[in-house]
Symmetry: C2
Subunit: 148 residues, 2 copies
DNA sequence: TAGAATAGTTCTATTTTTGTAACCTTTTTT
DNA sequence: AAAAAAGGTTACAAAAATAGAACTATTCTA
């Protein structure tokens, strides 16, 4: 790919995140007493079923002590569970509790309503393009070796 | 758009941000002594030429005192300038200094290299799809009324 | 089995983010 | 001209994110 295109690509990558927030709002309301970091942890658990502390750290790109802190708070709130009992007893697997699942689902629903309102004005073909393009982006990101 | 598709769309929206970070790294290294918030402010200024404090607040979705704090630090570092002298003397326009421009450019270059390495393994048509899809997403987001 | 490596935690400390309330200045409204 | 509104700042306070170092427990390795 030519240089000019690469630059545009990187520019888009960098600007996408704040753009999402600015236009579609944050995926978790600030008043929910769940911190963004904790919510992202929950989202990962929502998609991955269960993850070890280290895996969570890698997913969220934060240090292990940080993961511990986040998970501890979520445990106190009853939103996630420590589920060890693995061949390797050092590893502690974390999974969402029923309450945690419900929380993510409910919040996603709220966010869905919020987003729906905001993108309603788009024509149906724009909406389609948005959906398809986003899926393409996601598919490609999921191929990245960093995700191993 | 049907319900199922909307759900998938929202799910993609929510998961894109952490996915970007996880796969492509953060756009600003943590050791750069520029905080993420400050860097996003600089990025906005890089694209918009000049912005008022309030506009920055809206762009970054943070409160005005927060903007003040961020901009103050950037001014001390000589990366942005206060440029008032507008019809409305209450308004303080912020713009990048030459140093600020250079900083963003240099950092973008670094990030470009980093990203380039990570997406090198993609086939050329995948890369093309990634680029086009991302541009589509951005274009649509830029149409959002929230941006006015 | 001793030593090295790995998974997590605890302790500690710092930086960052964040917003509310009160205030000043300038502009707009009435 | 007085009142209201808007742009910013200051002061204050409190969450949140973050990670290095040291430590425990477990597993792997030689």
């Amino acid at each position: 790919m030519e240089e000019r295109k690469m630059l545009a690509l990187v520019d888009n990558i960098i600007s996408i995140k704040p753009l999402f927030f600015k236009t579609l709002g944050k995926p978790i309301p600030m008043n929910s007493n769940i911190t963004p970091g904790a919510y992202y942890a929950m989202l990962n658990l929502f998609n991955c079923e269960s993850l070890s502390m280290s895996e969570l750290g890698k997913m969220l790109m934060i240090s292990k002590p940080n993961v511990t802190a986040i998970i501890n708070k979520l445990i106190v709130k009853g939103l996630v569970l420590r589920a060890s009992a693995k061949p390797d007893r050092r590893i502690i697997m974390i999974r969402l509790s029923a309450k945690g699942y419900k929380f993510v689902e409910t919040n996603n629903k709220k966010y869905l309503d919020q987003v729906t309102k905001k993108i309603m004005f788009l024509k149906d073909d724009e909406l389609e393009l948005f959906s398809v393009s986003l899926q393409n982006v996601k598919d490609i990101l999921l191929k990245m070796p960093t995700l191993r």
